[in-house]
Amino acid sequence: MGAARKWLVIAVPYLWLLVFFLVPFFIVFKISFSTTALSIPPYTPVFEFTEGVAGLVDKARQLTLDNYLWLTQDPLYLRSYLSSVWIAFVSTLLTLLIGYPLAYGMARASRSLRPLLVMLVILPFWTSFLIRVYAWIGILRREGLLNQLLTWLGVIDAPLTIINTNTAVYIGIVYSYLPFMVLPLYAALERMDESLIEAAQDLGCTRLQAFWKITFPLSLPGVVAGSMLVFIPAVGEFVIPDLLGGSETLMIGKTLWVEFFSNRDWPVASAVASILLLILVVPIVLFQHQQSRQSEDGR
């Protein structure tokens, strides 16, 4: 009885994973070995379970690796992946640099003030993500708020071109993902025992030394969690580069969109998506590994 209940508890999340992640992924994975066709759906072969085993085997023979070969032949895809990873990496670093002092300040604020500060970090989520990115167009455009302000202050003579450049993409990503960095950092810093710092200072550490020797190492789980939460979705980001980026912006989310919608090439789009998943699985596995090691340490 006890064993059955235990199995049931484990089965639910695994069933969830199977139905909402693995099955959809295998459909995409299968399409990535298909060939485009002028039909509904726009690829071939289409497996029908009514055809029996022989029919399915026959169709399985039509599957091909061509789409993956195509990805290696056109440098566009490699450059899109590399550029996406680079943009996501730099953005993650920037969110960390901005987010850490923010989270540190929040964790050191008086106990009564903290809920309000957390609330302020979460507040932007109450407005649609799309509308917030659109708002940045209004801020960054040539006659936009930022250029007006800088001109009025006398900092610049001619308006800066920020919109439709990679700079705008960085601003958009850092802005949109900052809460995902701040919250795990805050959680890590807030539960830290302050007497450890006092002890370090008693033993002769300066404040800065105490920070690097005690505070930062103890906040590392938050740094890793926050970085993953920013890096992983940023690699596949589509909306921000589409709305804020320009002709120089190359990101895999856009490349995938073009394959799927403009070139009507579902198989190549599926191959691009499958590889993207592979790229993202590596940091996720590392993250998991780090998490499980932590729990073994008994924290």
Binding site: R141, S247, L250, F261
Partner: protein, 363 residues
């Protein structure tokens, strides 16, 4: 597409779906956003008792993806010819029952014949609106930088010297090789419908020279950007540029948007009314299409959206602003330079797509 469009779309959707329960007969229409006078839908329901469930999209790609996935549930959709030709081949649509469309006699032969390139014998589709690809520009900025009173040639952007002068105020291109390559070929004096690899290579080389001056390749953002004065030139669709022009005029912030049909020739496009193969309400779909072919009705639509329609009998009902605007109803001599182009075959499509990627990424 701009936020206002999205809001408008949501409002129309909400208006279209409420009250659908009371009626038995329904037609599900999927059309471009901002593309009809809502009164027409209300009048149709009043006259026929058929409820219209109206839903909108903002790109051919979005429509095509839904249709190709199958089971869209729509009865009438409005693709552009370049997309529609492929979709007909893929078996997405059903043939029209012309005995149910007596108003076909009102249609304009000139347009119907041009559409036949995409839809042989006009078996599947009826024209709703048509227009051109051309140049949308900020009148003051272009005048200031190039000294031109009016724009009438592709050279304003395809000549690298001109493009360089306009680079600082912003140039946008449609993110669509099937629109830009034919335009460049026309400018170079080659056959714009060519799929000869050498011609494509020549066009690519010419595009490479101007790409450093292009701020963005995007198929809808230029509407807002032109209207707000954020860019000075865009290669785009006539109707979108008219929208930018109207918004700029409404905002009254000193932005004047012009539209030019280049003299070297440009592509015509046609948005066609068609019935998906798996449409649930085929009779109602025919009634709806037939209703839209009434001269007064389609004239009302044109007077509202400022696009030309393919209904000859409707022309006497058009307001002066529409029928006399050479950018909307181009004069006969301009019509002669306009071309229609069937979609590239699969091999050429790959070739053009690759060339386009090199142009966009600059290598």
């Amino acid at each position: 597409m701009g936020m206002t469009r999205v809001f408008a779309a949501a409002a129309i959707m909400a208006a279209g779906t409420t009250g659908a329960l009371a009626q038995d007969r329904v037609v599900n229409v999927y059309n471009w956003s901002d593309y009809i006078d809502d009164e027409i839908l209300a009048d149709f329901t009043e006259e026929t008792g058929i409820e219209v469930v109206y839903d909108v999209y903002d790109s051919n790609e979005m429509l095509e993806t839904r249709l190709l996935a199958g089971g869209s549930g729509y009865d009438v959709v409005v693709p552009t010819t370049s997309f529609m030709a492929r979709q007909i081949e893929a078996g997405v649509y059903q043939k029209l029952d012309k005995s149910k469309l007596p108003n076909l006699e009102n249609m304009w032969d000139l347009i119907t014949e041009r559409v036949a390139v995409f839809d042989p014998e006009n078996a599947y589709s009826v024209n709703y609106m048509w227009g051109t690809n051309g140049i949308g520009y900020n009148v003051d900025m272009v005048k200031e930088r190039l000294g031109l009173e009016t724009v009438d040639s592709w050279s304003v952007v395809f000549d690298p010297e001109n493009a360089e002068k306009l680079a600082d105020c912003g140039i946008h291109f449609l993110d669509s090789p099937a629109e830009i390559f034919p335009a460049m070929l026309a400018y170079l004096g080659l056959d714009p419908t060519s799929s000869d690899p050498e011609d494509i290579a020549q066009a690519e080389e010419a595009l490479m020279e101007i790409r450093p001056y292009v701020q963005k390749f995007h198929s809808s953002e230029y509407i807002n950007a032109l209207a707000n004065g954020d860019i000075c030139l865009a290669i785009g669709y006539s109707g979108d540029v008219f929208q930018a022009r109207d918004r700029a005029a409404e905002a009254d912030a000193g932005v004047e948007v012009g539209y030019a049909i280049p003299k070297e020739g440009t592509e015509m496009w046609f948005d066609q009314l068609v019935i998906p193969a798996d449409a649930p309400n085929v009779d109602e779909a025919h009634e709806f299409i037939n209703y839209l072919m009434q001269p007064e009705v389609i004239a009302k639509a044109s007077n509202y959206v400022y696009y030309a329609n393919g209904n000859e009998a409707s022309q006497e009902f058009l307001v002066e602003d529409v029928i006399s605007d050479p950018a909307i109803y181009p004069p006969a001599e301009a019509q002669e330079t306009m071309f229609t182009k069937t979609p590239y075959d699969a091999r050429t499509n790959r070739l053009v797509t690759r060339a386009w990627t090199r142009v966009k990424t600059g290598q």
